[in-house]
């Protein structure tokens, strides 16, 4: 072995092609890019070979820009709308900033769908409450769209959404549609209003007052948002005697491989990229690192 090869991270000698790799992204075309806020953009994508993504709500993909890097992003559209899939991406660092520079027609690499999303068959026939905070609305939206598209399979549908500031509201068209949809019991709020804001002001938990009494026997709850939000929403939910196994949360961790090898996403003994990102609260509470 030439020592050089250890010291200098150059190309490895005698390298040969392989048939398969879990790390090989597939080409997907950006159909359109829309600005949702100053920080978030919505990407419409389709695989170059036209196939459907075939995901469950709550799953994510690894998005690649070769030469820049790769990062995990939740799928924010529902599998019930399979022609294309959507990602809502916040500009947060190297890869996401480079993604923001893309335009319609550009190509990205996609691996996925990855992780465990919501087991929708468990949800069928139940009343559904979704509580989303901030960017959490992105992963939540895949489930929201699903419930709306398959409305007949569900009981009551309550949707609560909180953002810090009106300027940070995501998916404005959807918000209007949900508000106007009689089949959705939709409420939203902002922490800090601006002049034009006519809606509610307050943290997302204040919206629980808008809900009718929940039936603990038939309600499932999904809570998706920043870690600080979790605990307070959980208190509201548990106070309504919803069983812990029927409260779902989605976790975020650093991820490199997305397939349960690299170790970065581990929260205690759990690889979030495989057993999650969606967990029941019953499972989550055993994960000290997830709730601390």
């Amino acid at each position: 072995m030439p020592r050089e090869s250890v010291l200098e991270a150059g190309p490895v000698a005698d390298i040969g092609a392989m048939a398969a790799s879990p790390y090989l992204p597939e080409a997907a075309r950006v159909l359109s890019v829309r600005s949702l806020t100053a920080m978030e953009r919505l990407f419409d994508l389709e695989f170059a070979d036209g196939r459907a993504l075939g995901h469950a709500p709550g799953q994510f993909v690894q998005v690649s820009l070769l030469g820049i890097g790769e990062c995990p992003i939740s799928i924010c559209s529902s599998p019930t709308r399979p022609q294309r899939f959507q990602l809502c991406i916040r500009k947060a660092g190297v890869v996401t900033a480079a993604l923001h520079a893309l335009r319609g027609g550009d190509m990205v690499g996609i691996r996925g769908p990855l992780g465990r999303g919501f087991d929708v068959s468990e949800l069928h026939g139940k009343d559904v409450l979704i509580v989303a905070g901030g960017l959490g609305l992105a992963p939540a939206r895949s489930l929201i769209q699903y419930v709306i598209d398959e409305r007949a399979r569900f009981g009551a549908f309550h949707l609560l959404y909180g953002a810090k500031h009106p300027s940070e509201l995501l998916f404005r068209e959807d918000l209007h549609a949900w508000r106007d949809d009689p089949a959705v019991d939709f409420h939203m709020t902002v922490d800090r209003p601006d002049e034009g804001w006519r809606g509610r002001v307050g943290v997302v938990t204040t919206l629980f007052r808008e809900l009718p009494p929940l039936d603990p026997q038939r309600t499932v709850v999904a809570v998706i948002g920043p870690p600080v939000m979790f605990k307070f929403v959980l208190l509201e939910v548990l106070a309504r005697r919803i069983p812990q196994g029927r409260v779902y949360c989605s976790l975020e961790r650093r991820m490199k491989c997305g397939v349960g090898k690299c170790g970065h996403c581990q929260a205690n003994d759990v690889y979030v990229c495989q057993e999650g990102p969606v967990f029941t609260y019953g499972r989550l509470k055993a994960l000290r690192e997830a709730i601390e």
Binding site: R3, V6, L7, E8, A9, G67, V94, A97, A98
Partner: protein, 248 residues
């Protein structure tokens, strides 16, 4: 448009500029990707319209101060290369002696002919956009920075200890050879080249952080039973630790 590059030297051995020339295998590609417009060691012609300026050397005279201010004004991006430019380098050893004494020791009564100041990293005088520490800087890391600049993505130094690269290189740890290596407290990026060649790390890439330093103090006293001041003296060799808070 190819970015216009300049390479400058202040008080230094110019080894870092030379390290760029030592990129033999990539040099022609580099010259294809950027336009070098000002490089005293390599060329006669020069220009002051510069996108990225690389500066080796510490600021140690009033003249250096004027020069580096000029570089800052002429360069859109300014990069400090090498231990001297990033930490002050070996030059800072003189800061620990009386100025009168070190001047007259070399130049006798004619010392006043050669004005001097404390040796400082260039960030003590001007704003620096990126730093490539090391004595000399690692030219592979230089190349990585250039590629980041070309690709328009941010560049960051490794945020872990030399030991990481030392292990990846498969070296026998110098503590097993009875040496108090500074690898555990030093920022990686050199591929642990010193331990690889059997020499202890002397922290030429600067200290990693306060926690590692605190651990070092404890371990030197309690585990290795050596004088911690001796260890700190080693940290001063390249200005990694001045002990006066100027640049930990």
């Amino acid at each position: 448009m190819k970015p216009r590059i300049a390479i400058f030297s202040l008080t230094s051995c110019e080894g870092c500029s030379l390290a760029i020339l030592e990129l033999e295998n990539e040099l022609l590609d580099l010259l294809g990707a950027v336009e070098i417009v000002n490089f005293r060691e390599g060329m006669t012609e020069r220009s002051w319209d510069i996108d990225v300026g690389f500066v080796d050397g510490a600021v140690s005279t009033p003249e250096d101060e004027r020069e580096v201010t000029r570089y800052r004004a002429c360069c859109k991006t300014l990069v400090a290369i090498g231990a001297c430019a990033c930490l002050g380098g070996v030059n800072t050893l003189k800061n620990r002696q009386e100025m009168e004494s070190y001047r007259t020791y070399v130049y006798g009564e004619r010392a006043r002919w050669f004005p001097t100041t404390d040796a400082r990293p260039i960030s003590a005088v001007v704003k620096v956009d990126y730093e490539l520490p090391g004595c000399p800087m690692n030219n592979r890391e230089f190349l990585r920075l250039v590629k980041c600049l070309l690709a328009g993505v941010p560049f960051a130094l490794p945020n872990y200890a030399v030991c990481v690269e030392c292990k990846k290189a498969g070296n026998l740890c110098l503590y097993e050879r009875g040496q108090m290596c500074l690898g555990p407290v030093t920022r990686a990026g050199c591929n642990a080249i010193c331990p690889h060649y059997g020499s202890k790390c002397e922290a030429c890439r600067g200290l990693l952080g306060a926690e590692a330093l605190a651990a070092a103090r404890l371990n030197m006293r309690e585990i290795w039973k050596v004088d911690e001041e001796r260890v700190l003296a080693d940290l001063r060799l390249y200005g990694a630790y001045q002990g006066d808070g100027s640049k930990p």
